[in-house]
């Protein structure tokens, strides 16, 4: 069973839940930018939790299936078509051998996820199938997909008949998002005025944003005396503020360590919102306590799909 790439789209990579256990050596986590959509996609096709999927960015591509299988698309709506006929997002889709899946431009949202029953079969590298573009390893030959690539797909346990009643809630991706943050760990580098700027301003997602970080344009956050720190570890969602005062939220392909002060960290449950922001979208930061954030996580756990 395989999938042929007819057109690859703007930036399409194989990703999974991430490469854990190597951050102390300088190897980052990576993985899907929007973990919510990733989990949903695997659920819809009856996969195990950690299977690899495709992540499309802004502009989707065209793929041909060589055998009968089940697919699902989640995240940004790229107006999917099966052999030219529109098909819905967020449900399992039955595909026959020779069927063509076509994705267009992202309407709302930025990243679309495609799961295939059985998962994308690329070799595991350090425990993960995620593509690390900077280091050129993992995923499909360590790079984004290109025209003519053939992706192997694993064996699936469940036929379409067993999956057809599954569906997932369709997320809205508004042009302005409010993301909740926990202050710190280096908020003391910033003046009262700087913090006020950070929490009161509306920032614009820059077109320089990528899988490493969501770069923001907007009012500069004032610091006491620069934001250089002795390099330390970086948690997902860390909001670092370089010398120009423009915040950068560090996402999946973040460095393991960095030398800029971090004014706050985006809550894990709000990271998908940023992952789905297109350049030009607006972002506001809202401070909540650590206790509240962890309470929200415990509540959310009860609603988890699997």
């Amino acid at each position: 069973m395989a999938m042929k790439v007819i057109t690859p789209g703007a930036l399409t990579t194989v990703q999974d839940g991430g490469r854990y256990g190597y951050q102390s050596t300088g190897i980052g986590v990576g993985g899907c930018m929007d973990m919510d959509s990733y989990r949903k996609a695997n659920y819809l096709v009856g996969n195990e939790k950690g299977e690899a999927v495709l992540e499309f960015t802004l502009i989707g591509g065209m793929l041909e299936l060589t055998e009968e299988t089940v697919l699902a698309l989640t995240g940004a709506d790229m107006a999917p078509k099966q052999n030219g006929e529109p098909v819905p997002m967020n449900v399992p889709l039955a595909f026959q051998a020779g069927d063509v899946l076509e994705l267009g431009m992202a309407g709302t949202g930025c990243r679309c996820y495609l799961a295939v029953a059985g998962g994308i079969e690329v070799p595991l590298y350090l425990g993960s199938r995620s593509t690390n573009l900077k280091c050129k390893f993992g995923g499909y030959q360590g790079r984004a997909l290109q025209r003519g690539d053939v992706l192997e797909v694993g064996k699936s346990g469940k036929p379409y008949e067993q999956l057809k009643d599954r569906e997932c809630f369709t997320e809205e991706y508004p042009n302005t998002v409010v993301v909740r943050v926990i202050e710190g760990p280096q908020e003391e580098y910033f003046t009262k005025k700087g913090k006020k700027t950070f929490y009161k301003s509306v920032y614009t997602v820059s077109d320089k944003s990528d899988r490493m970080g969501c770069r923001l344009d907007g009012p500069a956050v004032e610091s006491f005396d620069g934001t250089d720190i002795i390099s330390d570890g970086i948690a997902p969602g860390s909001v670092q503020v370089p010398a120009d005062g423009k915040p950068i939220v560090l996402l999946a392909d973040r460095q393991t360590t960095g030398g800029y002060a971090k004014i706050a960290s985006v809550c894990s449950f709000d990271i998908p919102k940023l992952a789905q922001c297109k350049p030009g979208n607006k972002v506001r930061f809202q401070k909540i306590t650590l206790e509240k954030a962890q309470r929200i996580m415990r509540e959310a756990k009860k609603d988890e799909l699997f």
């Binding site: 390099s231 570890g233 969602g237 460095q255």
Partner: protein
């Protein structure tokens, strides 16, 4: 997003000590006490101080080892990864299995136990380095800048024993401390687009080896045939924080000999315990 290797050791220390008047300075006065800071909802930072110092870094490495050991048993549940850095530790955890306060209290206890630990022997990796030539593109500039001869530079650079304070930035990139102050030279104003893996350079008061082809602004003084990162190797990363590195000068012929041995998987880096 091109990330520069930051952390200019002395510069940063100076800046922080001159910060006493600001709010930040006041809060940071009590630097002896370890601080536990939240880094989002699933990680915390254990900060031992705000300077680059061997003693602090030893504590970082010791606590990191202890946490990793304990997290493999029932003694410490919910801990994910530990990233040791110059003067702090980032500890990731699962907030569904533990929480900030609980983990903090456990770590405080572990930190208290650290004091009694004995000094362990140093593990020194001997890294062959071919100075000058095709890899040492900036050696001549360094000679001019420092006023030292080629031999003096090689002698000074290869006689030091460099401590690996931390790993980060790139897979297998070691942040080394202990560069001879006479060898310090600012980074290039315009970074090179591509520096080959194995290049040995000096940037400010740091020296190091590029583990993969990468853009960078360090002054290149030589090259090592040894892979600091090799995805084909069973252990892709050569070294870890807390170990030491000494450069051993070699000729261009040695360089190619060692390179061939590495490709045939017949070469192992010499390690000295001391």
């Amino acid at each position: 997003m091109v990330a520069e290797i930051r952390a200019d050791f002395h510069l940063k220390q100076k800046r922080k000590s001159g910060q006493a008047e600001g709010e930040a300075g006041l809060k940071r006065k009590d630097e002896k006490k370890t601080r536990y800071l939240p880094a989002g909802d699933s990680a915390l930072v254990v900060e031992f101080g705000n300077e680059i110092d061997e003693k602090l870094n030893t504590k970082v490495q010791q606590l990191a080892a202890k946490i990793i050991e304990a997290s493999r048993t029932a003694l410490l549940s919910g801990v994910g990864e530990v990233i040791p850095t110059f003067r702090s530790l980032l500890v990731t955890y699962d907030p569904l299995r533990t929480d900030f306060e609980q983990l903090k209290n456990r770590l405080i206890k572990m930190e208290e136990e650290l004091q009694e630990e004995k000094k362990t022997s140093r593990r020194i990796l001997k890294i062959p380095c071919c100075y000058g030539g095709r890899y040492g593109l900036d050696l001549a500039d360094l000679m001019e800048y420092t006023g030292l001869s080629r031999e003096e530079i090689i002698e000074r650079h290869s006689s030091a024993c460099y401590r690996i304070y931390m790993m980060g930035f790139l897979p297998g990139f070691a942040y080394l401390g202990g560069l001879d102050r006479k060898l310090e030279m600012p980074r290039l104003k315009t970074p090179r687009v591509k520096i080959p893996a194995g290049a040995v350079g000096i940037g400010g008061n740091q020296t190091g080896v590029y583990p993969i082809d990468s853009p960078g602004g360090w002054r290149l003084i030589g090259g090592t045939p040894v892979d600091f990162y090799n995805p084909e190797r069973e252990e892709p990363i050569l070294c870890k924080a807390g170990e030491f590195i000494r450069f051993v000068p070699i000729t261009m012929d040695d360089y190619y000999d060692i390179r061939h041995m590495i490709l045939r998987k017949e070469y192992h880096v010499e390690v000295e315990e001391g």
